[in-house]
Amino acid sequence: MEIAKLADLLLRGTGETLYMTLLSTFLAYVIGLPVGIILNITDKDGICPNRGINTVLGVIVNIIRSIPFIILLVAIIPVTRFIVGTSIGSTATIVPLTAAAGPFVARMVESSIKEVDAGVIEAAQSMGASPLQIIFKVLIPEAKPSLIVGSTIAITTILGYSTMAGFVGGGGLGSIAINYGYYRYQTDIMMVTVVLLVVVVQLFQEIGMRITRKTDKRIN
C-alpha cells in the first residue's frame, strides 16, 4: 500500500476512534454521573438513605457490568439498529459502548463521592443545606479531583472497548488492526495501529493527570 493511502487510512481510523471514545464517554457520564450520585446518596450512610432505590439500581448496574463486552456488543444489535439505523460503523458502536460504560462510570462516580469526608457533609447539614445543595455544592466540587482521575480511567477503558468493537465492524483503529493485521497478515500495519493506540492512551492519561493536579487544592 502506498504511504499516502496508508496515512490517510490511519488518520481516518484515529479520528473514528477518538470520535467513538469521546462521544461514548460523554454519554456514559450523562447516565453514570446521576446514577452514581443516586447510588451514593441512597446508601444507608448517604444523605438520603433509600434501600429500595439503592438495591434496584445496584442490581441493574451489576448485571450490565457482569456481561462481557463482546457479548453485550452482539446482544444489543437490535437496539443499536433501532437507534442508529445500522449496526456497523463507528456511530453504531457508540450505543454498546455507552451501554457498557454507563454502569462502569456509575460505580466510579459512586466511589469518588464516597471519598468526600463525612465531617464536611455533616458541617453542610448543620448549616441547613438541603440534599440538592449538598450534591451540587459539596459532593461534586469536593470530589472533583477524584472524578477527573476516574474519567481518565473511564476514557482509556472505553478506548479499549472501542477497539474490541472492531471485530464486528465497529470502525476506528480496532477495525484496521483486525482487517489488515489479522485477516490480511499485514503485521506492520497492525503494529502501527497498536502504537497509535498507545500514544492516544498516553495522551489522555497525561492530560487527565495534569488537570487533576491543577484542580486539587489539597496538594499545593
Partner: protein, 328 residues
Amino acid sequence: MSVVRIENLSKTFHTANGDVQALRNIDLSIEEGDIFGIIGLSGAGKSTLVRCINFLEIPTEGTVYFENNDLKSLTHKELLRARQSMGMIFQGFNLLEQRTAIKNICFPLEISGVDKKSAEKRARELLDIVGLRDRERSYPSQLSGGQKQRVAIARALATNPKVLLCDEATSALDPNTTRSILALLKEINRTMGVTVIIITHEMSVIEQICNRVAVIDKSRIVEEGNVKDIFANPQSDMAKQLILPKNAIHSLDDYKAVRIVFDGLSSYEPVIANLIMECNVPVNIMYANTKDVNGTAAGEMIIQVPDTAINKVNAYFDRIGIKYKEEM
C-alpha cells in the same frame, strides 16, 4: 429566656450488635448569653447530645426546643431554616478543601440565598473578626489547625446564628492555640451575644470560659450548675474525677489530707501562712490550683497536716470561713 431547652431526651442507636443507649432522660436549659459547657469522658454521649440540639440526630424520646419551637413539630424546610440560626464547629474543622477561606465562609450564605456580593462583604467582616484578613485566598491545606478553626468559626457565624455549638473544637489543638480559640469564642459571646455550647472532655476548657456546666456520665447528666459552684464543691463522682487531681491524696502515716477551696476574696488572704503561724503546725502542700474564674478568684489546695493538729486546723478554717473537707 432559654434559647435551647431539652426535656426528657433519650437517644438509642439500633446497631447490628444490639441497641446502644447513648442518652438517657436528659433535661437541660441553656439561657441566652450563656457559655454552657458539657463535659464528660469519651463515649459519654456528648456528641450525640449536641447533634440532637440541631436535629442532625433525631431523639428517640423527648423534646428539643429552640427559641421555644419544638424542633420535632417543624417541617423539613423550617428545620433547615432553624439550623441556619445554629452554627456548629467541630474537632476536625470540616472545611471544604476545594474552597478558599473566604469561599468557605460564603458557603452558609449561599445556602441561605444571599447574593454573592453581599456574601463576600460579610465574609470579609468575619475574616477581620477572627483575625485572618490576609488569608482570604488561602485553601484549608495552606492553613494551620488554629487558622482552620478560625475560618470554621467565621463560617459558623456568617448567618448570624443565635447559638454556636462546639463539639471538641479545641481537642485537636495545642494548649496555646486552644487558649486563643477559647478567647475568641468568649469575645464573640460578649460582643455578638451568641450563646455558646461547648462540648469537651477537658476541665481546663470549662474553667477558662464557661459560666455554666453540665457533667455527663454514661449517657446521663449527673451534675449541673454554675462553673464556680461545681468547681468549688463537686458532688458527683464524675465531676470529682474530672476536677480533682489524680494521686494527689496518698496517705502518709500520722498525717491527714485536707482539701480547701478558695472562692472570691479569701484567695487574696495569706491563708496558709496564717495557718502555720496561728496553729503552729507544719503544713505540706500536696496540690494547689488557684486561678481567675470569670473575674473572681477560685481554686483549691490539698494540704497535709499532722493528725494531732487536725482539730486546731479545722477550727481555724471555720473561723476564717473557708470551705474545707478532710480527705481519707
